[in-house]
């Protein structure tokens, strides 16, 4: 005889739904494990969310566009309502993009939402990447997530480029022409790749449809997969948090997922969407009707790609003249190859940076407490140099607009940027590193002696002092809890040899850690307090004395 255990029958709609789902999907377990997961709260942690939500907006608006856009390069005569193009010969792709803009209610809005959101996606992803870099969030166990995120940034650029080339207008068509020119310059296989990509000679009749397939299928699928991996790792590793009282490498301090995060993060999606919608309702973006259909003969002044491709265009502009080298009957166009290879090297350095830093520090512990940028001076300085390099290339893409706007000579602007490209990162590195070290010194001063209040007090024996307000223990902890490293010296290995690797590592560790400011120790703090405690001062005004 068996006694079956019967559960209570659920009552009410919500309860029965929950029961239904739990019996089939085990949602109860999911809710138990994840419902109160803790997420730290800081505005700088929301940049990745902005990118994620922008991507969702891209999917929604993009789906709308796929119902109206036609990726065909067959030529037709335009017969829509835009007067300056009536009777013009253009591809069906261009004509359908014009129809979306001018014939379909909400079409212009959705096109603009899509494009503005694309710009925002890459911008937010880039800024998020910078936040992760400058706070050291890429350290163990998150090195792989850094690479995944890097891939997302590249895929974002790819999605944008393939996307804005779809309307087959003059501006994006010239962009494709430039890409074709660069590809043709690649040694050995360049002309074959160009022929394969365009289905023959440029421009051909294939490229728009091929980019369309990449843009709506392959690239978004890859982005989705990488986002899933990216977020999955955030769940396993849990989010990092800034240093502060109660925050260690073994815990995470913040608010529970339900209800606070659901409300804040969920609400934030609507806010991001609302901001994009506001911009799209009021500001024109990519007015393809102004540029006209693509034709290899006309071109507009101010031909630039979308901002996230700008750094590559700038690199092309800054290359010096007459750099073709002809060897054994073959042409090596270094004017094109140097920017191409240079950009790939830059990207590669960005992708592998966590591994370089991990190798130098040999610190194999898990890191969940973030660095304030000032507390990692060399890393921050390297980042500043990298940002300067990227920024100069980005600015170099608009040399002609800079020249007209500021009434300068185009040629002088370009030459200046060539110089700044080489000198700027070095200057940025030096200035940033020194600034970080100074800020660390300042923090030490504040910890040891408190904040300057600006109140001047005259003591009975005639001495003037400025009253310092000591920090409370919570504020103080934020300033003293950071990782300190020292450089290593060269040591022979077990075989008694000093390898090249060891030498390099030692040299790098010196660059990284020779100039360093250590956190204030308890002994130093006690000494400073003893020093500052003069009987006269104690009796002045209402000061909270920090007692041990």
């Amino acid at each position: 005889m068996t006694t079956a255990v019967t559960e209570k029958k659920p009552e009410g709609a919500l309860a029965s739904t929950a029961n239904y789902l739990d019996e089939r999907l085990g949602v109860g377990g999911i809710l138990k494990n994840f419902g109160r997961k803790v997420f730290p709260d800081h505005w700088s942690f929301m940049l990745g969310e902005v990118a994620l939500y922008s991507f969702v907006i891209l999917l929604i608006s993009g789906t709308f566009l796929t119902f109206f856009y036609q990726p065909a390069m067959t030529e037709i005569i335009y017969d829509g309502s835009y007067v300056p193009l009536k009777g013009a010969q253009m591809s069906i792709a261009y004509a359908s993009s014009l129809d979306i803009s001018f014939e379909i209610r909400g079409g212009m809005l959705m096109r603009q939402v899509h494009h503005w959101s694309a710009l925002l996606f890459v911008a937010a992803a880039g800024l998020h990447m910078l936040r992760v870099f400058f706070t050291g969030a890429f350290r163990k166990p998150r090195e792989i997530n850094w690479v995944v995120g890097f891939m997302l940034f590249i895929l974002g650029m790819a999605a944008g480029f393939t996307g804005y080339s779809l309307p087959d207008d003059l501006l994006s068509g010239n962009g494709l022409r430039i890409i074709d020119g660069m590809i043709k310059g690649i040694p050995v296989i360049g002309t074959s790749i160009s022929s394969g990509l365009f289905g023959g000679e440029f421009p051909g009749t294939e490229i728009v449809a091929r980019l369309y397939g990449l843009h709506i299928l392959l690239v978004p699928a890859l982005i989705l997969i990488f986002i899933a991996i990216h977020l999955f790792m955030v769940v396993i590793h849990k989010h990092t948090h800034y240093s502060g009282p109660g925050r260690t490498d073994e815990n995470v301090v913040g608010y529970p997922l339900m209800p606070v995060y659901v409300a804040k993060a969920g609400g934030f999606f609507f806010i991001v969407f609302g901001v994009v919608m506001l911009i799209s309702a009021t500001f024109t973006i990519n007015p393809i009707w102004n540029y006209g259909p693509y034709d290899p003969s006309p071109v507009s002044a101010g031909t630039q790609p979308d901002w996230y491709i700008g750094w590559l265009d700038g690199a092309l502009r800054l290359a010096p003249s007459n750099l073709d080298i002809i060897l054994f009957g073959h042409t090596y166009p270094f004017g094109v190859l140097i920017p191409l290879v240079g950009s790939l090297v830059f990207l590669a350095l960005v992708a592998v940076y966590p591994f370089i830093e991990a190798w130098v520090t040999a610190d194999k512990r898990e890191h969940h407490v973030l660095d304030r940028p000032r507390n990692a001076p060399t890393r921050t300085a390297i980042g500043a140099a990298g940002v300067t390099f990227y920024g100069v290339l980005w600015a170099a893409a608009s040399t002609d607009l800079i020249a007209t706007f500021f009434q300068l000579s185009l040629n002088q602007v370009l030459v200046s940027m060539q110089v700044i490209l080489l000198v700027g990162p070095i200057v940025a590195y030096i200035v940033t590193k020194r600034t970080c070290l100074s800020l660390q010194q300042k923090d030490r001063e504040i910890v040891l002696h408190g904040r300057e209040t600006g109140r001047i007090v005259r003591l009975p024996h005639g001495e003037y002092i400025e009253v310092h307000e000591p920090l409370d223990k919570y504020e103080m902890y934020k300033l003293v809890d950071f990782k300190d490293y020292r450089p290593t010296i060269v040591r022979p290995n077990e075989k008694g040899k000093i390898t090249v690797g060891t030498r390099i590592r030692s040299a790098l560790s010196k660059i990284y850690f020779e100039d360093r400011i250590s956190p204030v120790s308890q002994t130093e703090l006690s000494q400073a307090q003893a020093h500052d405690h003069s009987p006269a001062v104690t009796s002045v005004g209402n000061q909270e004395q920090l007692t041990k």
Partner: protein, 347 residues
């Protein structure tokens, strides 16, 4: 070199494995962690009136969202699109503003609700070391060893090696299948539509140009005769055959001996396709006799066979040898004597 922090939080009990700390300085003298700061009470926690206000504010925001949604629905119908361009602008604006209000209302409302009314107690959750514990890792190793034993993967060299071979080679047909993406390049980059006797005509009409039409200071944008009427491959041919035609004073032209016969009475014709990466080099400065490409600012000097004087281009623009026919129309003497456009490997 592993060190131990003197004080470790109680959560550290989940962290059994000690990792090497490398170059890190483990201080024995750290200022101690004071623990989570005490919770600061919000007005909405203390005062029911403030809480009620906050609730009303959230409700108003959600209601504004409803208003926005209805407004957007109405605007979609109330601002139809006609032939007049300004109706597009109006539809875009009002539909968009309605949707903006409907979205921001929800977003700001939800955030305001969380900030003012939901508990803002900071909570600490223990992490676990990402690395598995020794038992878990040992069990995993056992499973892998068992799988290896049962499959014989390590033992059976023949299977293993032939498997590698098969897996390495199977993707190759999948790559080869893309071979027909485009035709073999062949000679296409070396030839354009221009031939001996082809008339120079205006872009886009195809009207032929007389030498007497080209006055000092003019620039004509040129296509070969026959291009304007083409239906197939029009843009592909134009992308190689587009030409710029200008007239200089004969004494201003510093011509090579070998190319002296390529101009006609001070009129010269050059390929419009930039030798950098292929944009149309369309800007002509009448007095400086410079051709400027707007994409990357390569600058070419027309007086000296369009050699590069600034910018990233690396070769002069190819010159089209021209002459006139019996009726005075400009014609090409032949095709370009070198490939037009950007440099490539086989050049």
């Amino acid at each position: 070199m592993a060190g131990k922090d003197l004080e470790r939080s109680k959560e550290a009990e989940g962290f059994e494995h000690e990792f090497e700390s490398g170059l890190a300085v483990i201080s024995q003298d750290k200022i101690s962690d004071p623990g989570l700061a005490p919770h600061r009470v919000r007005m909405t926690d203390k005062s029911p009136k403030h809480a009620k206000n906050a609730e009303r504010q959230v409700a108003v925001l959600f209601l504004l969202s409803v208003v926005g949604s209805f407004f957007a629905l109405w605007a979609y119908v109330a601002f139809p699109i006609t032939e007049d361009l300004s109706t597009v602008r109006a539809n875009n604006l009002w539909l968009g503003l309605g949707m903006t209000l409907s979205l921001l209302g929800i977003g700001i409302g939800a955030v305001h609700w969380a900030k003012t009314l939901m508990p803002d107690f900071e909570v600490s959750e223990a992490r676990h070391q990402t690395r598995g514990s020794e038992d878990v890792r040992a069990a995993a190793v056992e499973i892998v060893k068992l799988a290896d034993q049962e499959s014989g993967f390590s033992r059976r060299k023949l299977i293993r090696r032939t498997m590698y071979g098969a897996l390495a080679l199977f993707p190759l047909p999948a790559l080869v299948v893309f071979g027909d993406l485009g035709p073999v390049v062949g000679d296409s980059l070396r030839h354009t539509m221009w031939k001996k006797g082809t008339r120079l005509t205006k872009d886009p009409t195809g009207i032929p140009i007389k030498a007497s039409d080209v006055t000092l200071g003019s620039v004509f944008h040129v296509i070969p005769e026959g291009l304007a009427e083409m239906h197939e491959h029009k843009l592909e041919e134009k992308a190689k055959a587009a030409v710029l035609l200008v007239r200089l004073n004969q004494e201003d032209l510093k011509e090579d001996e070998s190319k002296k016969g390529w101009s006609y009475d001070g009129i010269v014709a050059y390929s419009k396709i930039c030798t950098h990466v292929g944009c149309p080099v369309a800007l002509y400065e009448q007095h400086t006799h410079h051709l400027l490409c707007p994409c990357h600012q390569s600058t070419f000097d027309v007086t000296e066979h369009c050699k590069v004087v600034f910018g990233p281009a690396s070769r002069p623009l190819p010159q089209l040898p021209i002459s006139v026919d019996a009726e005075g129309y400009l014609i090409a003497q032949s095709d370009f004597l070198e490939p037009v456009g950007p440099s490539f490997w086989e050049r």
